[in-house]
């Protein structure tokens, strides 16, 4: 059974191109040119994933996300025109799964979609407890991190930070989400905590902390742990 993509994009050319490419990849694509269209389609269609362009003629999509999140965990990927886009970060903070900045390649889009679909329904299913990437193994249940078959000692905060990223492996986690989940809601402005602990984590988990291959930075947005291997 093929998966259904709701593509919300007001530019006709981009909409057509993406629809074609996604169909070739085997997705069923329903397209909307405005938030109103998207709302109507959502009410009548079973959608597996939403690609939401910001800067639509009738709003920035926050209401759509709220509607979607009401009882469902349909993944949402935000497509933004600028790297610094306040609505984009707001939507991510509010629970959108990931983002892409225009222009993007089909490869990037498909990779983001694949990760988002894999995380689909995590609130209902068993939480991710294992992560494997190269010679790094993380077992959240056992509180165990191994690198090249050796135990890595992490402080409790470092471990909490890594665990938060592991639960969304492959997806961006915003500064605000990390700070709120690891330190607490009153620390959401203390980005310098994040910088320092990420630095420590990289020193322990990366070959060259200045050239990270696992703990990636999304400037101005948050962090992304590269997708794990199954």
């Amino acid at each position: 059974m093929s998966l259904t993509v709701l593509l919300v994009e007001d530019d006709r050319e981009l909409r057509t191109t993406l629809r074609e490419s996604l169909r070739v990849e085997g997705y069923v694509v329903v397209a909307a040119a405005s938030l109103a269209d998207a709302h109507a389609l959502l009410a009548n269609t079973d959608v597996d994933i939403v690609l939401l362009d910001l800067g639509l003629p009738d709003g920035d999509g926050e209401t759509l996300l709220t509607t979607l999140r009401r009882g469902r965990s349909t993944p949402v990927i935000v497509i933004s025109a600028r790297e610094t886009d306040d609505p984009k970060i707001r939507l991510l903070d509010a629970g959108a799964d990931d983002f892409l900045v225009k222009p993007f390649s089909l490869g990037e889009l498909l990779a983001r979609m694949r990760v988002a679909l894999r995380h689909r329904g995590t609130p209902l299913q068993a939480a991710i407890t294992h992560y494997r990437q190269g010679d790094l193994r993380v077992d959240l249940r056992a509180h165990r991190v191994r690198l090249a078959d050796e135990d890595v000692h992490l402080t409790p905060t470092e471990f909490k930070l890594l665990a938060r990223l592991v639960r969304n492996a492959g997806q961006v986690v915003t500064h605000r989400q990390l700070l709120a989940d690891v330190w607490g809601a009153e620390f959401t402005e203390h980005t310098h905590y994040l910088r320092l602990y990420m630095g420590q984590l990289r020193t322990k988990l990366e070959v060259d902390p200045a050239d990270p291959q696992r703990l990636l930075t999304e400037p101005g947005v948050g962090y992304r742990l590269v997708e794990g291997e199954d």
Binding site: T84, P103, T191, L196, M198, D211, P219, G220
Partner: protein, 513 residues
């Protein structure tokens, strides 16, 4: 009563101490009559009169003195309990007493009047000074018009109406006035002349119309009703006029500043438009031509091309589109950073992360080229806009990869100096001719073909730097830093961005547990 009092009418001094003085003096004289002789008793009366003059009005003093002398005569001067005067000495005593008391009372009154005038003067000077300060501190003197209105109203004791010029025609009205009133204000404003009693113009009017004069023309006018001022003095008008003129000058200054700002903004917008036009004509056409060429070839000749050729054409389109994307980002960023009053998204950022992001992007773009990072240990966090800093370093790296030769890896180095961080992007390329070393930072300048920076042979590789270094320098400066170019000793360029570090600001978590 303090000099800061903005309201000029002094509170009426209480009169009762005067009455008390007289009463006490009367009692004292009654008590002392058996002990003292008449001349000494009379001294008490003179003393009482002088003291009472401190509180009583001149008329009251005169009346009180006269009454006191009569009572004194009646009660103490023999024959007692009659108004007749027995001896010549007593008549002289009584008349001297009366004269001295009166002179004292009049002198006192004059002194008080002078002091009052002095106080009023000081108060008005203070008011002018305060209002002047208020106007200076205010960005828009219009917002202070209500202050002027209140000050003038307290001067004349009646509500005041104001008319302020809006651009070229009379515009804003404050307060209430009849249609005659507004007309009079308009006239006063147009002619920059005061009207009303004492001004020599429209003397019959019951109100003053005072213009708010600037250096060139009036910028407003005030209507001061004189209903509560039976005899308006020239001093009062002069003071009111001075207040109005202060407002006029402030308004004129604000107009001039506004005009200068909008002229500057216009010039700025003009320059920006030229920059953008230059960007489009200069940097966009070549990649667009390449994309169009490759795409039309794929479109028109698809069946005659080999799979390899099709693949190469598609790759060209992707590369050139990416290039176009970079130029667009840079051009837009330059335009955005040029906007006056732009707010950066500042946050605490680690140099390691910024560099890591740039390394990853460079590798994604050109996996076959080496870029290395050399970071000093223990660099403090920087308070910067991460997206902009990444763009800066990414442009420099892209530039170095394009022009810096392929013999040696491009290197990103970060070092901490006393109060700044130096981020350098270095290559081992042919360097840049001295004539071009500053000009590369101007938008749409590139090393010309034929200089030693880039050989005509690799002309296609020189594209796209036009706006790149200009935006890099703009980003550095927006962070209070600088971007400079240094030639390396054994060949190659080092583009060096210095950013200020404020140790007091560098946030560190309390506990690294």
């Amino acid at each position: 009563m303090t000099p800061t009092d903005a309201t000029p009418p002094a509170p009426t001094p209480s009169r009762w101490p005067g009455a008390l003085v007289w009463t006490l003096a009367g009692l004292a004289m009654g008590v002392l009559y058996p002990v003292l002789d008449l001349a000494n008793l009379a001294m008490l009366l003179v003393l009482a009169s002088a003291l009472a003059a401190l509180w009583l009005t001149p008329a009251m003093c005169l009346a009180a003195c006269a009454l006191a002398v009569l009572v004194f005569n009646f009660a103490f001067v023999p024959p007692r309990f009659t108004f007749s005067v027995a001896l010549h000495q007593h008549a002289l005593l009584l008349s001297t007493m009366l004269s001295v008391s009166w002179i004292v009372a009049l002198l006192m009154a004059r002194q008080r009047r002078l002091a009052e005038a002095e106080r009023l003067l000081a108060q008005r000077a203070r008011q002018l000074q305060d209002f002047g300060a208020t106007l200076r501190d205010s960005d828009d003197p219009r917002l202070r018009a209500s202050d002027l209105q209140a000050a003038l109203a307290s001067l004349v004791g009646a509500p005041v109406a104001l008319l302020l010029r809006e651009g070229t025609d009379a515009g804003t009205r404050l307060g209430k006035a009849g249609s005659d009133g507004w007309e009079g204000l308009g006239m006063s404003l147009r002619h920059s002349q005061a009207m009303g009693p004492g001004t020599g113009r429209h003397e019959d009017q019951p109100d003053w119309y005072l213009p708010m004069r600037g250096r060139q023309a009036a910028l407003g006018a005030a209507l001061l009703p004189l209903t509560n001022q039976p005899e308006p003095t020239p001093e009062l008008r002069a003071h009111a006029q001075a207040l109005c003129d202060q407002m006029g000058l402030a308004l004129e200054r604000a107009h001039a500043t506004h005009a200068a700002t909008s002229a500057r903004e216009q010039a700025h917008a003009h320059a920006l438009r030229n920059t953008l036009l230059a960007a489009i004509s200069h940097d966009y056409r070549t990649p667009l031509a390449t994309i169009l060429g490759a795409a039309s070839s794929l479109h028109d000749q698809a069946d005659r091309l080999s799979a390899g050729q099709r693949q190469r054409l598609a790759a060209t389109i992707i590369d050139e589109a990416g290039q176009l994307g970079r130029i667009t980002d840079n051009t837009l960023q330059l335009a955005r950073l040029d906007t006056p009053g732009l707010a950066l998204h500042l946050d605490w950022e680690s140099v390691e992360e910024l560099v890591g992001t740039v390394l990853r992007r460079a590798r994604q773009r050109q996996p076959d080229r080496a870029v290395k990072a050399r970071l000093q240990a223990g660099l403090p966090l920087l308070r910067v806009d991460a997206v902009l800093l990444v763009q800066l370093l990414d442009n420099l790296v892209d530039n170095a990869l394009k022009y810096g030769g392929e013999s040696a890896p491009v290197e990103i180095a970060a070092t901490l100096e006393s109060n700044q961080i130096r981020l350098a992007v270095r290559d081992r390329g042919p360097g840049i001719a001295p004539a071009w070393r500053e000009r590369v930072f101007d938008a749409f300048q590139r090393g010309d073909p034929g200089d030693n920076r880039a050989q005509p042979a690799d002309a296609p590789a020189r594209r796209g730097a036009g706006v790149g270094l200009a935006v890099c320098r703009t980003i550095a400066r927006a962070h209070g830093g600088e971007l400079t170019l240094r030639m390396r000793q054994r060949g190659g360029c080092s583009f060096e961005c210095t950013l200020p570090v404020n140790p007091a600001q560098a946030g560190a978590p309390e506990a690294l547990a």
